[in-house]
Symmetry: C2
Subunit: 292 residues, 2 copies
Amino acid sequence: MDTSTVLIGVDWGGSNLRAFAIDARGRAGGQREIACPALSLAAGGHAAVLDRLIADWRRPGLPVLVCGMAGARNGWQEVAYCPCPADASALAAGLLPVAADIWLVPGVRYDAGTGIEVMRGEETQALGAAAAVDDIMLICPGTHSKWIHIENGQIRSFRSSITGELFDALWSRWLPLVGPAPAQTDWAAFERGLAAGHATPLLSALFSVRAGYATACLRPDEIHDYLSGLLIGAELAACDDMAAGRPRRIVGAAALSARYAHALALSGHRATRLDAAACVAQGLSSIWQGRR
Amino acid sequence: MDTSTVLIGVDWGGSNLRAFAIDARGRAGGQREIACPALSLAAGGHAAVLDRLIADWRRPGLPVLVCGMAGARNGWQEVAYCPCPADASALAAGLLPVAADIWLVPGVRYDAGTGIEVMRGEETQALGAAAAVDDIMLICPGTHSKWIHIENGQIRSFRSSITGELFDALWSRWLPLVGPAPAQTDWAAFERGLAAGHATPLLSALFSVRAGYATACLRPDEIHDYLSGLLIGAELAACDDMAAGRPRRIVGAAALSARYAHALALSGHRATRLDAAACVAQGLSSIWQGRR
């Protein structure tokens, strides 16, 4: 790590622990990653795991900022959610010190009227993604996808969909019946699923997998990508009203982001894909600079 | 079995094998049931299993009619679906002989415009349920719930929802996290779930379980019945337009039917609950009498 590092950034989520050496302009230099879910460690174990990953980077007075599920109940330590709307200063005010030079970033909570929304980690990506623009819809595909509206550096609202978790739950049931996913994405099957997910209430659309299998209208090897398209189509149908008139940005894993970009393109929307590490580094930098 | 039996009826579904001794008026007399999924037997095994259950009932010339998943691919033998609209005569015309005096009842297929719908077993319940009325909406809750419109003895249309399978898939994931279901139904939690399932797109409503858990707005022991209400609420929101102006009838397992009746009552609809065995017996009787 070179001497331009002013901040160590950490994104500790439900699967992986990632660390970045961040310079004064919010750019990620060195980057390290290990598989280590933030919620699977015994109480008190987080500091030692993190230290093993970045011990050679640390020096007294160099701040370490940790966002993600590490701040959840059953994580490193629970950090109170910051209410929405939230900007970098509001998140900075909620930083929770957990060790010398180490702070946890709060998640964000939003009362959507129909229910409570929460996120941990995506708020930091959102601040980074919006650093250079006025008003965007940030789409974060994943286990619990988020559509986040950010305007003038402020997270205004967001909506979550359980898309990825539902895919996992159903695919793990159906895999023994239909066999493994194809090696390459079957875009035709994906598009048929998209159409079904757009047109039909989700509980009925999901039955179309069973009906397609029973009537041989769907081949077993098409079901993986049909289901993927169906769920992404349902998410777009439920969320795309939030994006009206706003540029859409996608930040997430490459293969999954490509599916969302493809689905949006079919609806006539060009969505720019952003680098997740760059967004997190920029977001953590903004939060650190947002202290008063 | 007394001598008034004119037909042996069999409902062989995804979990159980049920047999009924049916009289000339379509009433079920003797009834026997064993756990035996129609799709889990090796090819050629069905006749022997059924014979063990009803050997003492059989006599030459006494017909045995089998409805349900026994007619599916991977069942006893695949029976071609009967197209919708379908009445007792149409189903009778599709009866498939599989052994001496034994026939399989075809399922029904419906092209709903947005996709193909199929059922095996519920068509027989529907004919039985509608035997005495002109025009009803029959609701069959279950793994794959069906809403069936029957008018003048004819199945006109139906819609399936994957409600029960989705409940199983999600509850089996969440059970280790939140602990077992309460011994008694928590109707308050069920009603909160109903409201969420009615008001919010399903992918977002399902995230409210995660958010409710993370914010302690939902207690772990409330999640089972909240999820049940949420999915049933989503099914009602998606299907209840089919029922407009028609009397609603429910046929299915007692505890699950009670949940649907409760949910419908909160929407201002009184739904009569029918006995499943009586409906199947009456339906098989109608089909047998529908031969030309």
